[in-house]
Symmetry: C2
Subunit: 338 residues, 2 copies
């Protein structure tokens, strides 16, 4: 089969790779219904996270189970499944506490930008839908594999409550789905920080009540203005730079919460400053597995439509163009069809 | 009157100062029943926090109201009152959210190691007891002014729940009262990190089930051992150094919480490390005012006895010896009687 492999900065190739097979008895192999490119794939694509050698890309996936190892009990061939980018056993103490992305046996899923994928720890990682979904539901179900689960975790970690005043730092797909999550959780006011017309439009569609175009200290000042000097109850940090993290912390009211899901790059927190902000901090790699069953129901019931973040759909063999479009911010997120 | 004034490292003098009077119409002046020395007073005493000039010391107090300004409505002369080290209006949005130590009009109370004290924003800062307490209740009531409220906030910020596994970093008076607070909140297991026999004894008396003498990475390893590799649900950071903060974070399970109340000195958090710990962080200067009414009831009902942290009682004019005893760790905490 052919799949996406990153060779170096801005050098993604679609080339022959070994087809996945069952290696461990807990594995499953799935035939991809759709896959996509993640904002976090851009870190190595841009050379900011160096790679050791040619690297199969992609960690978002949904599809039909083709084969399972002999130790797999609950997942069956023929099922439509979605899983997280972190494989988990879903039985260890960290999984039982709802932190499957800190599972004691966690393993990163990689190489999903391909027609087929091996998923470790299939029983603990994959969630099967009751029926095989119709084709038009695929984008929203695929989004649950990472980007929607991550936006949801940002809102969950930021303690978004009914009626809350929420700010979202970052207008990438995760930030936009953070807006959708906050809306779903009943937020009363959602201030989306964005400078791009197409993203502002989608943010409003997902439930944003205010658009803030300022950044850094000016962005903080604008959030304070909009909240009578108080700050937001909940702030979702969906970027991962030092500036965006500080913008999030400083936009939050004392006793309010920052949920941060942007993978930190160069973030350093001064303990004394943090102390006097009285802000709650929680975040990390989203425990997508925890949220999958509920999010699948919300998609099937038509309550959420996270697939709208895919504003570019390409055949899988055009994957390199998919990266270019996201790198140049021509696309929010690229869906790839095998 | 005479009160404690710090002139430089290890130079506390008991000397003539102006007696306090009503300056603002929202002020009260109280006659001190007892005052004490705080662990945080040792930062400037040791020269770690430099002072600009001679500084009246002390911020923990309880006593009888002598006089109030014309704008004071609820506090009356003759009442026995306790207040926080941060004066607050108790009406601004931050106060109403329970973060009185981030009050928009907050003011540090200073110079309490004296026979009388001016307290700003008396209505919002002071809490009067129903009756004037008996003399033997004074130490426990005085403790509510800071050290007990701070230990309580550490446990509250660390989300201590019934049955929880708790670790406490720091065996000063705040850490010991963090143990007491966690016990009061129903913790199932409390691991106190302490190397000093007298403090270990008091920790056990307050409810510690395990004593951990190791520090740093070894302390973390010991907490992990004691929790079958999982980590604690809630960790109270009651020191404020970089080492103690990292010890607290690394001792916590994914999804668990660190409540930090030690004033940070040189604490720097690496965003990427924090991200992958999945730990919740909350802390800051304790909003003591939020907890005062409930804590006063707990003392009056004999449910808690935080005054036990005072293992040295001196007449106020021996204040310099009180500092020496704490600096040399001969005393946990010194109570001063005017």
């Amino acid at each position: 089969m052919r799949g996406a492999v990153l060779y170096g900065p801005r050098d993604v190739r679609f080339e022959e790779r070994d087809a996945p097979t069952i290696i461990e008895p807990t594995d499953a192999v799935i035939r991809m219904s759709a896959t996509c490119i993640c904002g976090s794939d851009l870190w190595p694509y841009r050379g900011i996270n160096p790679i050791a050698g040619p690297t199969p890309m992609g960690h978002e996936y949904c599809g039909i189970v083709e084969d399972v190892g002999r130790a797999v009990a609950s997942i069956k061939p023929g099922q439509f499944v979605i899983g997280s980018f972190f494989a988990s056993d879903n039985t260890c103490p960290h999984c039982r506490a709802g932190y499957q992305s800190s599972c004691r046996h966690r393993a990163l899923v990689g190489g999903a930008q391909a027609p087929a994928l091996r998923v470790p720890l299939a029983d603990g990682t994959l969630v099967a839908t009751r029926d095989v979904p119709s084709d038009d539901a695929i984008p929203s179900l695929l989004a649950l594999s990472d980007v929607m689960g991550t936006g949801w975790f940002a809102a969950d970690a930021a303690n978004v409550k009914a009626g809350a005043t929420v700010a979202v730092v970052g207008d990438g797909a995760v930030g936009l789905l953070g807006v959708l999550s906050a809306k779903q959780m009943g937020a009363g006011r959602i201030m989306a920080m964005s400078r791009h017309a197409s993203r502002q439009k989608l943010a409003r569609e997902f439930g944003a009540t205010d658009i803030v175009t300022e950044r850094g200290d000016e962005g903080v000042a604008r959030i304070k203005d909009l909240t009578k000097g108080v700050g937001a109850d909940s702030v979702l940090e969906c970027v991962g730079t030092h500036e965006s993290m500080m913008q999030a912390i400083r936009s939050t009211r004392p006793g309010g919460s920052v949920g941060y899901v942007g993978v930190p790059h160069g973030v350093t927190l001064n303990g004394e400053e943090l102390f006097y902000t009285h802000v709650r901090l929680h975040g990390g790699p989203a425990p997508v597995r925890r949220f999958l069953p509920d999010l699948i129901s919300l998609v099937f019931n038509g309550k959420i439509n996270p697939g709208k973040v895919f504003d570019l759909t390409l055949p899988l063999d055009h994957v390199a163009e998919g990266y270019r479009a996201m790198d140049e911010r021509r696309a929010i997120k690229t869906l790839l069809r095998p």
